[in-house]
């Protein structure tokens, strides 16, 4: 339908040091109720949001990283991670949470939500969007 727009949430901040990462996640979850075509991009320090093994028990803040697991249930299953940003930080896909979703068009098969893409690929993905929301 023509009233479905392509939305991309661009995440460029590390979690906890600033409020951007948590705010972005909240807006994504709110926006998911509007049944639009939603993608998330993780670039620069934003890749740190998806690092596995986060434990905030000693800093008195909520660990919101488990919430990324819930995105698949809201049909938010395109999480693009820029390869160049991972490499600059000494990280690989193995350092990230294994996020998945169930594909309703493929007998609810469990599939990975995270897609590591090059800068050039991400530039194309961003170019296709109707709206890019930056955090």
């Amino acid at each position: 339908m023509s009233d479905i727009k392509k939305f991309l949430y661009l995440n460029r901040k590390a979690p906890y040091g600033t409020i951007y990462a948590l705010e972005s996640l909240e807006v994504v979850l709110i926006g998911a109720a509007f049944e639009q075509d939603v993608s998330l991009a993780f670039v620069d320090d934003g890749v740190y949001q998806l690092v596995k093994g986060q434990d905030t028990s000693e800093i008195g803040m909520k660990n919101f990283s488990p919430t990324y697991n819930a995105l698949g249930d809201y049909d938010v299953n395109k999480l693009y991670v820029e390869k160049e940003s991972l490499e600059a930080r000494g990280l690989t896909e193995d350092d990230l949470m294994p996020l998945t979703y169930e594909d309703e068009d493929d007998d609810w098969a469990e599939k990975p939500s995270i897609r590591v893409v090059s800068s050039a690929e991400l530039a194309d993905i961003m170019d296709e969007q109707d709206v890019v929301l930056a955090f």
Partner: protein, 102 residues
């Protein structure tokens, strides 16, 4: 006597750690906390620079901020020491003064 330098910003977003390394006098200590802890990790575009700075400066990282961000001990640069909140207080007490790099 020596200074304790503190850095709480990501080295990939701000140049605070860069400025600290450039201007800190030999014999001082650098404590990385909050988003600053990323500066103590291996295999990054700034790892070599931090390792080189360790010739003249002692580097510490705040354990609770590391854990919050999913950084394991084995991901830290060799020679970086992990401290807890009590260790942070000890570092402040053991140095002449504290120079923050925001």
């Amino acid at each position: 006597m020596s200074k304790l330098h503190t850095v709480n910003k990501s080295p990939f977003e701000k140049n605070s750690l860069d400025a600290c390394i450039r201007l800190a006098k030999e014999g001082g200590a650098v404590l990385l906390f909050e988003d600053g802890v990323y500066g103590a990790t291996k295999g990054t575009v700034i790892s070599d620079k931090v390792t080189a700075a360790m010739k003249g400066l002692t580097f510490y990282v705040l354990g609770p901020d590391m854990k919050a961000r999913g950084i394991r001990d084995d991901q830290l640069l060799d020679g970086v020491k992990v401290v807890d909140y009590g260790g942070f207080v000890d570092l402040v007490a053991d140095h002449d003064n504290v120079q923050p790099w925001l």
